[in-house]
Structure formats: structure tokens, C-alpha cells
């Protein structure tokens, strides 16, 4: 082949002056950080009205406490070999509680795998969560929640689903909102960015909540991204973004509620970064001592979201030791009942592998179904 010999045009770096003045600069909206209570349960800004009344506070506290007690049980069950790998939500209960209490019944939740508090307030039962981690599909067949998506394990892959559902809501002219929760690690994944961008350009009724618990298994938030805050990622999609103290359930409830209202009223999506800390191992299959300082963890306990809210309620005279005791006992009973129900639930039948694969099983699969059933029959 006869090529024309091309001439290399030499670079001329040395001739270039390093500085130029821009002719204009686009201002970028700052990223606000919200907090209402300090660790002593005292307000650092003006308290919203609702946070000075007992009912809404107790509602939040209940979900958080229930989640905490459930969580302890689930970890114990796993340690005893009665549950598969389990992802604890220890220390991160405020996020789910605030989400759950902010959503309306016909909104749709897209959880990752740590938002039991949100799921519980949305009607998912403790038994169901146990069934899921116990290896039984029935755990995602929520009996009292027909729209929410199941737990999502492949990181960030559910974020585009939330965009699709939000689109459907908007297309139908409904005043409904999709809420999608995911971790700090998830904000590095393409799925997240693609959905965030689309939510902006399509102006979808969608609230994104980052559970920034500072760790993605062993990889710290600091390494995950050089973004100053993860809320800064909203700038890339031209949507509002903010950071909220993720251990401050009042601030969370306030800001998530506000974002939902905006979405519901047609004012588009919001990205909320909830700053918290994973007080537990990544899952029961993980040993966080391999990669993070246990001192760091110890220090984080002062931010315990349950303690903070309890102190606040106590300061306002809304919460007695007796009430605390009663609620604990009640939930411990409920947790035991749920555990029993879980342990008594039989495995799914072998045929179920085929029976939910398509709406009706194609003929081509009949033979395999029979073979599976025979085999089960032999071994069973």
C-alpha cells in the first residue's frame, strides 16, 4: 500500500503562555448542608413546627427502633446459621425512617439492600426481609405493598428503573413520586449517572437519596470520588442537590419531604446526600477490621441517630423511660413472632422455579419442569 508520508506538526507548548482570562464565568449554585439537631438533641436552627409535636417524632422513632431491634436479631440468626448473608443497617436507620414517613402510599420505593426502615414503613414485613436473606423468593412478594420494587443487589442498577416508573407517573398525569435509595459506592456507577441525567432532562418526579455511610465494603468515600460532596453530582445533571445530616432524622424528614413535594408538584427531581456512617460490617460475610480502624467506628457511635432523636423527645418531655421500655418490649415480641414465621415458612416448591419464569410456561420448558419435579420427588 502506498501511503502518503504525513508530516508531523510539532507541538509548540513552550510558546504558549500559561494564563488566559475567561471572558465570563458561569456561577454554580452552592450545595447546602442541612442539620436540625445536634448530638445532644438540641436544635441548631429553628425547629420546624412538626418537630415540636409528639406524634410525628414518635412515628419516626418507632420505625428506627423497630429496625434496630430487627437488625440485631437478623445478625444473630445469621451467626447461628439460620439466615444467609445479611446486610445490616446499623446506624443508618434514620434515612429509611425519614423516607418511609415522607412517602405517600402510592409512591414507589426503589431500595438497595439497607433500607429496611423505609420498607417497614411502606408495609413490608420483617418476616419478608428474613425470607429474602434466608433464600426464599417469597420475601420479595410483599403481601402489603404491591408497587415497591424488591431489594436491589447489583449496585445502582435500580436507579434507571426509578426513572422509568417516574416517567410512567408523569405520563399518566398522576401526582406520584418515585424514590430511589443507594449507597455512596453506587454514585460511581454509570447506571446512576445515566438515570440522574435523564431525570433532569425529562424533569421526572424522582427523588434520589444517597445513603452515604462512608464505605463501599472496604473502599472509603474519600477514594470513591474527588467530588467535594456527593451532592455535587447533581450539578452534572442540572438538578438541585443537597447534603443532609444522615443521623438527624428531623433534618432528613424535612428535606426529603420537601423534595417529594417538589417532585409531586411538577418541579422535578432532587438529589439528596444523607451523611451517615456504617457502624456494622458491610454484611455478615465481611470483617471490617481488615480495612478500617475500630477506633474510627467507636467515635462514630456518638452520632447514633436513635439517641439523638430520643434526647430531643426527652427534652421536649415527649418520651419517658417507661415508653421506651414498652416500645422495646413490644418490638422484641414482634421480632420474635416474625422470626418464628420466617423459620416456619417452608421452602418454595421446586415447581416454582418454572412457575414464575413467564406468565405461562412455554411448552419448550415442560420437559425440564417435569425433570426437576421428578428429581425433587426422588430426593425428597
Amino acid at each position: 500500500m502506498s501511503h502518503l508520508k504525513p508530516r508531523l506538526l510539532k507541538p509548540d507548548q513552550e510558546e504558549v503562555a500559561p494564563q488566559t482570562e475567561p471572558v465570563k464565568t458561569y456561577r454554580v449554585r452552592g450545595i447546602p448542608y442541612f442539620q436540625v439537631l445536634n448530638n445532644d438533641g438540641q436544635p441548631v436552627v429553628e425547629l420546624p413546627d412538626w418537630a415540636q409535636r409528639k406524634n410525628p417524632l414518635v412515628a419516626l422513632y418507632k420505625v428506627m427502633l423497630k429496625t434496630r431491634l430487627f437488625d440485631q436479631k437478623a445478625v444473630a440468626l445469621q451467626r447461628r446459621g439460620q439466615l444467609g448473608t445479611y446486610a445490616s443497617s446499623l446506624g443508618q436507620e434514620a434515612i429509611g425512617a425519614a423516607i418511609g414517613c415522607s412517602m405517600q402510599t402510592d409512591d414507589v420505593l426503589f431500595p438497595a439492600y439497607r433500607e429496611y426502615a423505609a420498607q417497614f414503613s411502606r408495609g413490608v414485613s420483617m418476616t419478608e426481609i428474613l425470607l429474602y436473606w434466608g433464600g426464599n423468593e417469597q420475601g420479595m412478594n410483599f403481601q402489603h405493598q404491591d408497587k415497591d420494587f424488591p431489594i436491589c443487589v447489583p449496585i445502582a442498577s435500580h436507579v434507571p428503573h426509578a426513572a422509568g416508573t417516574a416517567y410512567a407517573m408523569k405520563y399518566r398525569g398522576q401526582r406520584r413520586v418515585a424514590v430511589c435509595v443507594f449507597g455512596d459506592g453506587a454514585t460511581s456507577k454509570g447506571d446512576f449517572y445515566e438515570a440522574l441525567n435523564a431525570a433532569g432532562s425529562m424533569d421526572l418526579p424522582l427523588v434520589f437519596v444517597i445513603n452515604n455511610n462512608q464505605w463501599a465494603i472496604s473502599f472509603s468515600r474519600k477514594h470513591q470520588s474527588k467530588a467535594l460532596t456527593l451532592a455535587h453530582k447533581s450539578v452534572a445533571a442540572g438538578i438541585p442537590g443537597e447534603q443532609v445530616d444522615g443521623n438527624d432524622v428531623i433534618a432528613l424528614r424535612q428535606r426529603i419531604g420537601r423534595a417529594l413535594e417538589n417532585a409531586r408538584d411538577g418541579r422535578g427531581p432532587t438529589l439528596i446526600e444523607a451523611l451517615t456512617y456504617r457502624l456494622c460490617d458491610h454484611t455478615t460475610a465481611d470483617n471490617a477490621d481488615r480495612y478500617r480502624d475500630s477506633e474510627e467506628v467507636k467515635k462514630q457511635w456518638v452520632n447514633d441517630p436513635l439517641v439523638r432523636l430520643r434526647k430531643h423527645m426527652q427534652l421536649l418531655g415527649f418520651w419517658s423511660d417507661q415508653e421506651e421500655k414498652d416500645l422495646n418490649s413490644r418490638y422484641l415480641v414482634e421480632v420474635e413472632q416474625a422470626t418464628r414465621a420466617y423459620l416456619q415458612t417452608p421452602p418454595q416448591p421446586i415447581s416454582s422455579m418454572f412457575d414464575y419464569l413467564y406468565k405461562s410456561l412455554p411448552d419448550a420448558l415442560n420437559e425440564q419442569r417435569s425433570a426437576a419435579m421428578d428429581q425433587g420427588h426422588q430426593s425428597g
Binding site: S157, P160, H161, Y171, G190, E194, N197, L357, A364
Partner: protein, 338 residues
């Protein structure tokens, strides 16, 4: 679809319809009949799709139902899943099969599982359309045939039409199907043949092969654009005195093996023809099932005439890559030597 709606939609005979126009007609028919059907993809709106498969639909049905998305394939598939769970019936277009790979994750981990993992609480009635295959001198990455990747995914349906009529009827069936379907359109024949079709909303079944030609000497099994080389080969063989049975598999997953087995029980010989790379292509599955269930009726080894296990070459060599009539005829003759 209810009878009322069927009656309401005017049934018209559309003369000289190409495959791509048949796709367009099927989309228009079902959008008119069912307000839950929405389309999404890149350049499908004002531009009507790079092959004009969605031409005019945005004008008719509005930009809320014919949605131009940002350049984000994962988003397109993922959104379709979220829409389907809310009982819309999304038909998503991936502009070329070469750009479909980043959505395999959404298909394998979500679309095909949603019903199963929620025990039927949620489901995913979505269609993913994409043009595929070689033969139009397209640029790099625009000519591959990788349907086998999808045929391995449990819970999916894989459909490939080979004529305007089947394009129309199978696409309607795909949209109405309650589960995820990938619908691959052989772009080489988008405009190659014209057929009169009835725009009557009649769907075709999604789980049977189509018998295109009867014969007793050899069974030729193929799908997509290769059906046309296969039929030409059958004609050449007929001229030489050999009668071929030609089967268009069309619905590749779930696979209607019975029709193929019945044919081979009659002919004792089988040639499978596909454009895709040979190794682990769908031809392997068909040949394997023949070896399992039809071994005793085979007079000769099964032959596969396929693309090579090489990267699809740029277009100067695409003809050399693709199976051709000569190779099909030669393979059929080899089986007949036994």
C-alpha cells in the same frame, strides 16, 4: 385487545410493504389500540429512527409516547423495566445491536427476573428492538449478529422476523406478550422484499417455527436475513432434484424444537444456517438437540453453515464472512452423500 378496539381500528390491506414498514405499521396499530404502549430510544422521534422504523409516530402519538432519550442505553433498558412494572408496555429501540451489550446487565439481572423474584407481584412486559446483521456496507460495530447471547438468558423471548408479514405479526405478539421480548430486525432485508399485508392487528404465535417450504430430502433451518439465501439454496437444490424443507425458526427462544425434529424425522438430514459466529451460536443448540432427540433419524451428520469465529470484518470482506448460497448448497449436498 378487546373486540371493540379491534373493530374501531380500520383494517386495511397495505400493498407492497417492506419489513421496516411492517414494523412501523405494527407499532402504529398497537399504539392506537393500547394507550399503554410507549416507544423510547435514540433518534426515534422527529427523526423517525435511523432506519425510519418509527417514522411519523411521534407526529401521530406525541412526544410523550414516542420518547427520544439521551444517549444512554443502560437507561433506555432500565427505564423500560420501570415503566413495565407500572403496567406501561414500553417498546425500546437500541439503535444498532452493536450498542446493545451494555444493557445485557439490565436484561439478565432485572427484566427477565422481575416476575420470578417477586413471585408474580411485579412483571416486565417490555420489548427491546434492535436492527442487526451484516450486508449493507455499514461501519464498524454495525454488522454483528449476537442473538445467541440472548438465547442463553432464562426468562427471555428472542424473536427474529424474516419477512414483512412475520415482522408485523410477531412484533404485535411481542408487544402483547406479558414478559420481556428481544426483537431483532435483520436490517439487510429491511427493504429488500415487498409483500401485501393486512394491517388488521393479527398477531402471530411466539412459540412455533414457520415451515416455509416442504420437501423430503433435507431440512434447512435458518432465521432472519439468511432465510433468503436458504430459500435460494433450496431452489437450486430443487433444480438438481433435491427437495428441501425450509424452516424459519423466527422465535428462537423458547425454541420450538418439535417442528424441527418432525421435519428431520422425515428427511434424516439437517443443515442449520446462521450469520452469527459458529461457536455457541443458536445452531449449536439445535444441533445438540438433534443429537439428543433425533439421533436415530439422522442419516448424515448435522451441518452448520455459519459466520466464522472471527471478529466481523470491515465491509470490504463482509461477503466473505457471511454464509452464502454456495456454502448452503454444498452442505446440503454433503448430507445427501450419506
Amino acid at each position: 385487545m378487546s373486540n371493540e378496539v379491534q373493530r374501531w381500528i380500520k383494517v386495511t390491506k397495505v400493498a407492497k410493504t417492506t419489513l421496516v414498514d411492517a414494523i412501523n405499521l405494527a407499532l402504529a396499530y398497537e399504539m392506537a389500540a393500547d394507550p399503554d404502549v410507549v416507544l423510547l430510544g435514540e433518534d426515534i422521534g422527529v427523526n423517525g429512527g435511523v432506519f425510519r422504523a418509527t417514522d411519523g409516530l411521534q407526529k401521530t402519538f406525541g412526544s410523550q409516547r414516542v420518547i427520544d432519550t439521551p444517549l444512554s442505553e443502560t437507561l433506555i433498558a432500565g427505564m423500560a423495566i420501570g415503566m413495565a412494572a407500572e403496567r406501561l408496555k414500553p417498546v425500546a429501540e437500541i439503535q444498532f445491536m452493536g450498542f446493545i451489550y451494555s444493557v445485557i446487565d439490565q436484561i439478565i439481572n432485572h427484566a427477565t427476573r422481575l416476575r420470578n423474584r417477586t413471585r408474580g407481584r411485579l412483571s416486565c412486559p417490555m420489548v427491546l428492538r434492535a436492527p442487526f446483521g451484516s450486508g449493507i456496507h455499514a461501519p464498524e460495530h454495525h454488522s454483528e449478529s449476537t442473538e445467541a447471547l440472548f438465547a442463553h438468558i432464562p426468562g427471555l423471548r428472542v424473536v427474529i422476523p424474516s419477512s414483512p408479514g412475520r415482522g408485523y405479526g410477531l412484533l404485535l405478539a411481542a408487544i402483547r406478550d406479558p414478559d420481556p421480548v428481544i426483537f431483532l430486525e435483520p436490517k439487510r432485508i429491511y427493504r429488500l422484499h415487498k409483500q401485501d399485508i393486512e394491517d388488521d392487528g393479527q398477531a402471530l404465535p411466539l412459540d412455533t417455527c414457520f415451515l416455509l417450504r416442504e420437501g423430503q430430502d433435507v431440512t434447512l433451518v435458518s432465521w432472519g436475513a439468511m432465510i433468503h439465501e436458504t430459500i435460494t439454496a433450496a431452489e437450486q437444490l430443487a433444480a438438481m432434484g433435491m427437495q428441501s424443507e425450509v424452516i424459519d425458526v423466527a422465535t428462537l427462544k423458547p425454541l420450538d424444537m418439535q417442528t424441527i425434529l418432525d421435519s428431520v424425522a422425515k428427511t434424516g438430514r439437517c443443515v442449520i444456517i446462521h450469520e452469527a459466529a459458529r461457536t455457541c451460536g443458536i445452531g449449536a443448540e439445535i444441533a445438540a438437540q438433534l443429537a439428543e432427540k433425533g439421533l436415530m433419524s439422522l442419516f448424515a451428520p448435522v451441518e452448520r453453515v455459519t459466520g466464522f469465529d472471527t471478529v466481523m470484518p470491515l465491509f470490504q470482506l463482509e461477503k466473505e464472512y457471511m454464509p452464502n448460497v454456495d456454502r448452503i448448497v454444498a452442505a446440503a449436498k454433503r448430507t445427501l452423500e450419506n
